[in-house]
């Protein structure tokens, strides 16, 4: 399946990329997507995750075509 991965703000800077296009096989969670996209990097402790622009737990399963996003705590307003 094909997953689009996006990174924002300080997480984007520390990873050095704003997005990945992953081609994956088998059932996978958000955490699995992180591991596939960043095999050499632990999940940042405070990082948040979203699937298709809704907040999700890191153990949420992903589906073909999903957009998965990782970012630090939000600081708007």
């Amino acid at each position: 399946m094909s997953i689009k991965v996006r990174y924002f703000a300080s997480l984007k800077e520390s990873i050095g990329r704003s997005e990945d296009e992953l081609i994956l096989t088998g059932p996978l969670t958000v955490y699995g997507v992180w591991q596939q996209a960043n095999p050499d990097k632990d999940k940042p402790i405070q990082a948040l995750a979203a699937v298709n622009m809704d907040y999700v737990d890191w153990n949420c399963p992903v589906s073909d075509g999903d957009e998965v996003a990782f970012f630090p705590p939000v600081t708007g307003g």
Partner: protein
């Protein structure tokens, strides 16, 4: 209910008058309007700040803000609500965010306006990177609870 992300400076009072002019100005049921304007300060966490860049997640930011306004409409008896939020490069004194709630009753308006603002602070995907007086850049790590010296 309306959510606007804008890349240029905005005057909240002009935005409010224009928004009310579309239909709210004609309603005779509005008894309470509760408004909040967040403005850029030239200091944060003890350091002087020259400017900031506000990043967002196009699509998700609007989606989350829409949900927050809907949440507020479900919890209180409201007539309308509005959020306007800046993104991009921002300088001291410029408005960052405007929250407006129109209701028949003040309790509903006050509660909902504050709820929307706090929910925005904790859930809407915006990220501030500050440019300090010493030219260093720093990402704001997290939002404060909103009170002096905390």
């Amino acid at each position: 209910m309306a959510v606007t992300i804008c890349t240029n400076p905005f005057n909240p009072y002009e935005v409010l008058q224009a928004y009310e002019a579309t239909y709210l100005h004609a309603l005779r049921t509005i008894g309470a309007t509760s408004l909040f304007i967040g403005t850029m300060r030239d200091f944060n966490e003890g350091d002087g700040v020259k400017g900031m860049t506000l990043e967002y997640y196009p699509g998700m930011t609007e989606k989350q803000l829409d949900k927050i306004l809907l949440d507020a409409q479900n919890q209180w008896t409201l007539i309308d609500s509005l959020v306007v939020h800046r993104v991009g490069d921002i300088f001291p004194k410029e408005p960052i965010v405007l929250v407006a709630v129109w209701s028949s009753h003040r309790g509903d308006a006050f509660d909902a306006c504050r709820f929307i603002m706090e929910a925005l602070k904790s859930k809407a995907p915006f990220w501030k990177k500050e440019l300090l007086l010493n030219e260093q850049e720093r990402w704001v790590a997290k939002n404060s609870n909103g009170y002096q010296s905390t």
